[in-house]
Symmetry: C2
Subunit: 439 residues, 2 copies
């Protein structure tokens, strides 16, 4: 059994583990004790897939249809999916290191500051401690807010569930309208977003930040992630505010304070948290179009977020600017980006777009919902975002299967692609070069 597993390469291994978790989870969610009303198997499977891939799209209301048992199963799948993903990402980066030349291996080891096997085990330990402490700390703060409101048992569970869901970028909520009721609540807004932004940066970045005192000494990957995330979030806030401030169904009807929090929340959630405090079905088509880009970009490598990843996006922007200028090499923070990395990033975009395109094609055959809602749903599933314009539960079974496929691929895809592409040849270089993880 273990011997056969040994023959799988890392992405195949991850696919098998995730597939098994989804299967076991779907059976548990299908049990009569998991729900207050009969749930079809495809809906249990969809829920298990959405939880394990930390997406957050739902076909059955988490808070009312699933019992506390069902909710605990969902929470466990989220924790497993998020943790498995992060530790797997760490392992895959280390595995990549073994396939690469001395220089690349040294670069990777430098970015982790872990040269030995003992170091790796310690790294995973730190990862475990880090994620549990973040979740527990957040649970405590949220409980201060929710225990007075919902009572001790209920309030504590609400806090724990949302803390785990947020840190792992899962987007599951116990309320059918997500966090809409806390649209102007600073505590909920701040804690939830801090959790999913931290989880979305990627463990390697957080680790690098903690280890490295000086900003200048951060790895190129960390610098790109931090500056890229900040820049994208600021642009997203501006765009969202300008596009929606006149919409009476969203920002238009709110107070100034609510507008601020709602703008901030909706700007940071598409990459790839999936919570919402406004109704996405009521937003302007232009806002939704812009959100497609945000959902496609996603979060960081080795994180709980999905999408093509911020670094991939930054590398592509730099590469395209470089070529339009006729320059020889893309440069970021005084480091040249290798041609290999650029090709890998461009390939990830093309492959990702192809997968989404084929899915939209199939969805447009079987679904009758407006085209934009279908497009949004497909990008949301592939980016494991979990936002929806409200059509998920009325999809056909074929449509649900397409979304499950998208969530699964979206979760495995970029990491697997990065692994596959890691075999690419390495050419002679003129500038000092440094790797950027674009998985």
């Amino acid at each position: 059994m273990f011997a056969r597993f040994d023959k799988l390469n890392p992405p195949q291994f991850l696919a098998v583990v995730f597939g098994l978790a989804i299967l076991v989870g779907s059976v548990l969610l299908w049990l009569p004790i998991a729900s207050t009303e009969p749930v079809r198997y495809i809906d249990a499977l969809f829920t298990a897939t959405s939880a394990t891939t930390v997406t957050g799209l739902v076909v059955v209301d988490t808070g009312t249809v699933f019992t506390r048992f069902g909710q605990v199963v969902i929470m466990a799948l989220i924790k497993l999916g998020g943790l498995g993903l992060m530790s797997f990402a760490v392992l895959i980066v280390l595995a990549l290191g073994k396939r690469l030349g001395l220089r690349e291996r040294l670069l990777i080891q430098q970015s982790f500051n872990q040269p030995s096997l003992g170091g790796i085990i310690r790294l995973v330990k730190v990862l475990l401690i880090f994620s549990f402490s973040m979740e527990l700390f957040a649970t405590f703060i949220l409980a201060l807010r929710w225990v007075p409101e919902y009572g001790l048992a209920e309030g504590l569970f609400q806090s724990l569930f949302h803390a785990i869901s947020a840190f792992n970028n899962a987007g599951f909520s116990l309320w059918s309208d997500s966090l809409t009721r806390y649209i102007g609540d600073p505590v909920v807004n701040l804690i939830i977003t801090i959790l999913f932004i931290t989880g979305g940066l990627g463990f390697t970045v957080v680790y690098d930040l903690v280890k490295t005192k000086h900003m200048k000494r951060l790895a190129l990957h960390s610098k790109i992630m931090l500056v890229g995330t900040l820049a994208i979030n600021v642009v997203a806030m501006l765009m969202f505010f300008l596009l929606e401030r006149g919409n009476p169904a969203t920002l238009g009807a709110l107070t100034w304070g609510e507008q601020f929090w709602a703008t901030y929340f909706q700007a940071v959630t598409p990459r790839t948290a999936g919570f919402n405090t406004l109704d996405f079905g009521a937003m302007e088509p232009a806002t939704i179009t812009f959100m497609l880009l945000l959902m496609f970009i996603g979060a960081g490598s080795a994180s709980t977020g999905g999408g093509i990843k911020v670094t991939t996006f930054v590398v592509i922007v730099l590469a395209v600017v470089t070529y339009l200028r006729g320059a020889r090499e893309s440069v970021a923070f005084s480091r040249a980006i290798k041609a290999d990395i650029v090709i890998r990033a461009l390939a990830i975009v093309v492959i990702s777009l192809s997968v989404v395109f084929v899915s939209i094609f199939v969805l447009s055959m079987v679904e009758t919902a407006p085209y934009l809602t279908i497009v949004f749903e497909a990008f949301s599933a592939f980016g494991t975002v979990g936002l929806s314009m409200g059509i998920t539960d009325s999809l056909t079974d074929t449509g649900k299967m397409v979304l499950m496929w998208l969530m699964f691929l979206g979760r495995l895809g970029p990491v697997s692609i990065a692994f596959a592409l890691a075999k690419a040849s390495h050419k002679n270089v003129r500038y000092p070069k440094e790797d950027v993880f674009t998985g």
Copy 2:
């Protein structure tokens, strides 16, 4: 004056020439003698842009609103646009030759079989003779069909107008429903499609075909174009038939013979002819989704067609397959494709998608038409296709300006990008390599 023009690089020069042609054309079309009813300047400008960029999107009915004078202006702009484009493409390839190393220059000269300046002049001569003979021959055949139907003067003009429009992939028709009335007519179907497929292959391919006796000795570029065009057209026919055969508004209501011709015609027109014999507004969303891909792919380099080009698409498919397999180099017809070419192709896709995305974003702000019709319109304009789901004439002025911008960029874009990217460095190679024009 000429000295200043000399300082422009070829894409800038093309932009200035096209811009001037559009301006002059728009003024001519705005004159009272050009139309039977007053035409707004923006509509005259739109028509001139659509004709010069050989797109075919119309905001004013060509056959009824424009007089014979106006129609001749449109025909002249199409001829100028198409010819200017093809000869410019030949010149740019030769100009690229001067910027490249000895090996690349030899490859380009080999594909033209023209090593000297005298050869280049002869090449442009052949191009002129070839395009005029194709158009005159087609006019003659179409006249046999249309002179009996419309009388001598009218029938001859119809024939000449549609021959020029088809060979230059312009998609302009004197009938408001394009060629819908000839849906089952073998002569019209065959002549029009032969014209736009030949025009869309690109002059270099046709020239190579005429010069080279043996298929195996064709340039790599020609082989990819011929096999790629055939494969895409066959797949498009199958897909179109399967998706639309049950649609009573399109194939469903037709006889077998009409179904055959309609399937063939609609499968080949999206890349980038722009004529239609069926109503695109009545097609299934899945068909339209598939058409988006066909319109984005487009026709050949140095042709009258638009899009990212068939070779770019083939290079990308090969590159992605190569990387997924972990192989070192993409290979087509026993020739390795250079990393430079791959990066260039991927960059063209990313840049093109970005342009279309921004346009869809702006259109979704100002237009109220269904989302899919807007997306279709944007891809059609950027690919200089000219197909529409029927919303062009009801667009806002902002929307029309976005489409003009798209047509102009779509026409100049890939060629200019290819030129910009031609400065990229050349690395040492292991396999015999050969260039593929992905502009």
